[in-house]
C-alpha cells in the first residue's frame, strides 16, 4: 500500500464495503444469468472494484456519475438502491427504469446516476453538459465520467476533453484502464504511452494512478474532486486496473496470456485490501466477514424482490417515448 495521506478508518471500511458489495453483485449476476434467471449480455467489472469504491467516498449525493455498460461497480459505488437495481437487471416493472433500460442503461437519478450509455465514449460529452449545468447553477457539484481505455481512441473522448478544458468544467474523467479494449491489448490499439499523457494535449491535469490501490485511488480522486469543486477545471485520471472476467460474459479471455492473467489474479485488489485492513488493525477478520455477510444478505433480498416482481405491461411501449404534456 502507498505511503500517501490516508483516509480515516471509517472511510477505509466504507471503501471495502462498497468493493465487496460489487463483488457479491457480480458473482450473483453471473450465477443468475447462468441459471437462466436473467436474460442479458453481461459485462463484469471484477477486478476494477476499488476504483469506484475509492472515488465514491469523495462524492456527495448531488454529484453525478456517468458510466457505461460495464457499470455495476460505478452504480453500486454511487449508492443505487439494491432492489430496483437488481429488478432492472431482470427487466422487471419495479426496476429503476421500469425494465425499459436494462443492464446496459442502469439509471437512477435520485442516486446521481443520470446516464449509463452502451456506446463507447458517448458518456464524456454528456458529462460535460451535466457539469456545465452545475456550473450555471453556481453549485460546486461535480460530475465523474467513467469509461475504459478503449474509449480514449474514439472522437467523442477528444472533443469532450477539449471542451471540458476550454470551459473549465467541474468534471473528472476516469479512465478505468484495464489494458484491453474488448479483445485488443492496449499497445495494439492505443498510440500514447499512457492515457494520462492524452490530457497534456488538452491543457488538462492528467494523473496516473494504481486503481487497484485503495489509498492511491482515494487520494487521486480526492484531489481531482477538490479541484473541480474549487472551479479549477477537469482532470483525467488514468486508473490502472485489470479485468478478470473478459469483455462479455462467456468470453474466456483467450487473448490474454496465461502468465499475465495469473499475475493479475495473484494481485487481486480485494483480498489484498482485506488483508491490509486486518494487518493495519483497521478491522478484525470477523468484522469484515460480518460486513461481507451483510452485503450478501442485502443482495439476496434484492434478488428475491426482483424475481418476485412482475414484468412491465406491454402498454409501457407507448409510455415515456414523449412527454405527456409540455412545460408552461
Amino acid at each position: 500500500m502507498s505511503e500517501m495521506a490516508s483516509p480515516d478508518r471509517a472511510t477505509l471500511l466504507e471503501i471495502y464495503r462498497i468493493a465487496t458489495l460489487i463483488k457479491t453483485a457480480d458473482d450473483r449476476f453471473i450465477e443468475l444469468i447462468k441459471a437462466g434467471q436473467i436474460a442479458s449480455p453481461y459485462y463484469s467489472p471484477r477486478g476494477q472494484e476499488l476504483i469506484p469504491a475509492a472515488i465514491s467516498v469523495n462524492l456527495r449525493p448531488s454529484d453525478t456519475v456517468v458510466t457505461t455498460y460495464r457499470g455495476i461497480h460505478d452504480q453500486l459505488g454511487k449508492g443505487i438502491p439494491l432492489k430496483p437495481f437488481v429488478a432492472e437487471f431482470m427487466g422487471k416493472a419495479t426496476g429503476t427504469c421500469k425494465g425499459k433500460g436494462g443492464p446496459m442503461h442502469i439509471t437512477h437519478v435520485a442516486s446521481g446516476l443520470p446516464v449509463t450509455t452502451g456506446i463507447v465514449g458517448a458518456g464524456l460529452p454528456i458529462a460535460n453538459g451535466l457539469a456545465w449545468a452545475a456550473q450555471l447553477r453556481k453549485s460546486d457539484d461535480v460530475t465523474v465520467c467513467n469509461f475504459g481505455d478503449g474509449a480514449t481512441n474514439i472522437g467523442a473522448f477528444h472533443e469532450a476533453l477539449n471542451l471540458a478544458s476550454v470551459w473549465k468544467l467541474p468534471v473528472i474523467f476516469v479512465c478505468q484502464n484495464n489494458g484491453y479494449a474488448e479483445h485488443t491489448k492496449y499497445e495494439l490499439g492505443t498510440s500514447s504511452r499512457t492515457i494520462a499523457d492524452r490530457a497534456i494535449a488538452y491543457g488538462m491535469t492528467g494523473v496516473e494512478v494504481d486503481g487497484n490501490d485503495a489509498i492511491a485511488m482515494w487520494s487521486a480522486a480526492r484531489s481531482a474532486v477538490g479541484r473541480a469543486r474549487a472551479g479549477e477545471g477537469p482532470t483525467l485520471i488514468d486508473a490502472k486496473t485489470f479485468r478478470f472476467r473478459g469483455h462479455l460474459l462467456g468470453d474466456d479471455s483467450h487473448y490474454i496470456s496465461k502468465d499475465e492473467m495469473a499475475q493479475a489474479m495473484a494481485a487481486d485488489p480485494l483480498p489484498r485490501l482485506r488483508a491490509w485492513l486486518i494487518d493495519q488493525g483497521h478491522a478484525t477478520d470477523g468484522a469484515l466477514t460480518d460486513l461481507e455477510r451483510t452485503n450478501e444478505q442485502a443482495f439476496e433480498e434484492a434478488v428475491r424482490f426482483g424475481l418476485d416482481s412482475p414484468f412491465p405491461d406491454v402498454s409501457e411501449l407507448d409510455l415515456d417515448v414523449y412527454a405527456m404534456e409540455t412545460a408552461a
Partner: protein, 337 residues
Amino acid sequence: MSTAAAKQINMVQAIALALDEAMGRDDSVLVLGEDIADKQGGGVFKCTAGLSTKYGTERVKSTPIAEQAIMGAAIGAALGGMRPVAEIMLMNFMTVGMDQIINHAAKLRFMTGGQTHVPLTIRTATGAGFGTGGQHADYLESWFAHTAGLKVVAPSTPADAYGLLLSCIFDDDPCIFIENLPLYFVPGAAPVPGERVPIGQAKVVREGSDVTVVSYSRTMLEVLGVAEALAKEGISVEVIDLRTIAPLDMATINRSVARTGRAVIAHEAQVDFGVGAEIATRLHRDQFGRLKAPVGRVGAARSPVPFSKPLESAFIPTAARIRAAILDTLAPSVATP
C-alpha cells in the same frame, strides 16, 4: 389592416426574437453553437446576434467546431435541468453528432423509464440554391422523423418560425428545428410577441377544392406560386403547410383530402423513403375509398446536391415539376373510379 399586422420581418429576425423572448422569460434557456456569441459574429446567419451581449457568455456559449461535444453538452445540460438550444450550423453537420442525437437525446426518456428527459432544441439550417454542393444542403428530416422520441418542425414563414421555436424550447422533448437558407431573408408578417405555434399542427394556408398539396419549409414558396398560377387556369388547389413533420397532423390533411379526393406531397428532400411516402401511405389507409387518383409525390432528384447551377436548379422540386404532379392527379387517364 392594422399597422401591427402590416409589419414585416424575416426569418432570421423571427428566430432572434424567439430566442430573446425565451431567454428573457426563463433563466434555464441556454444557447450554444459554433460562432454564436457576438464576439464571433452572433452566428454565421446572425440568428443569435445580440444574445451574448444581453444574457452573457455563460448562457450563450460559442463552441469549438465539434458537433459531438456540442450535442453532448446540450444533452447533459438538459439532463441537468436546463433548456438548451443548440445550433448545428448546417443540417449535414448533424451527421457528426448523430450518436448523441439518436442514441441519447431521443431515447433517454424511454430507457430511463421516464426518470429523465431531454428538453433540447436543435436548430439547424439547410437547403439547396447557394451553390454549396453535396455536403451542406441536404434535407435529412426523415431520418429524425423516423426516430421515436424526436419531434421535427420545419416552418416556412417568420411568424411560424417564431411561434414554433418558442414551443420547441419550452417542450420537454428533444426537437429538431429545421431552417432554410433561402427562406431566411423572405419577409413575412411579424409574429405577435409571445405567441406560440403548437407543435403538431399543420395549417391550411390556401383553400381549394380540386386537389390538396401538402408541403413545408422552402418548397412552400414554389407550391404557393403554382397554386396561384393554376387558379387562373380554373384549377382550385388547397395548400397545407405542414409546419411540424413529427408528430404528423393527419387530421388536417385528412379533412382536406376527404373533400378534394386528390393529394400531392412536395418537399425538398428526396422522394424515396421520405416524408411524402409516410403521408401517402397514411392517406391510402385513411382515404382509400375517396381518393380519385394515386397520391403524388414531388421532391429532389435522387442524387447528392449538385454544385453546377443548372444541375442545382433542376435538383430541387421546381414549380414545373410540382405543377406536373398536380395535373397528373387531375388527368382522367390516371384517375381511379
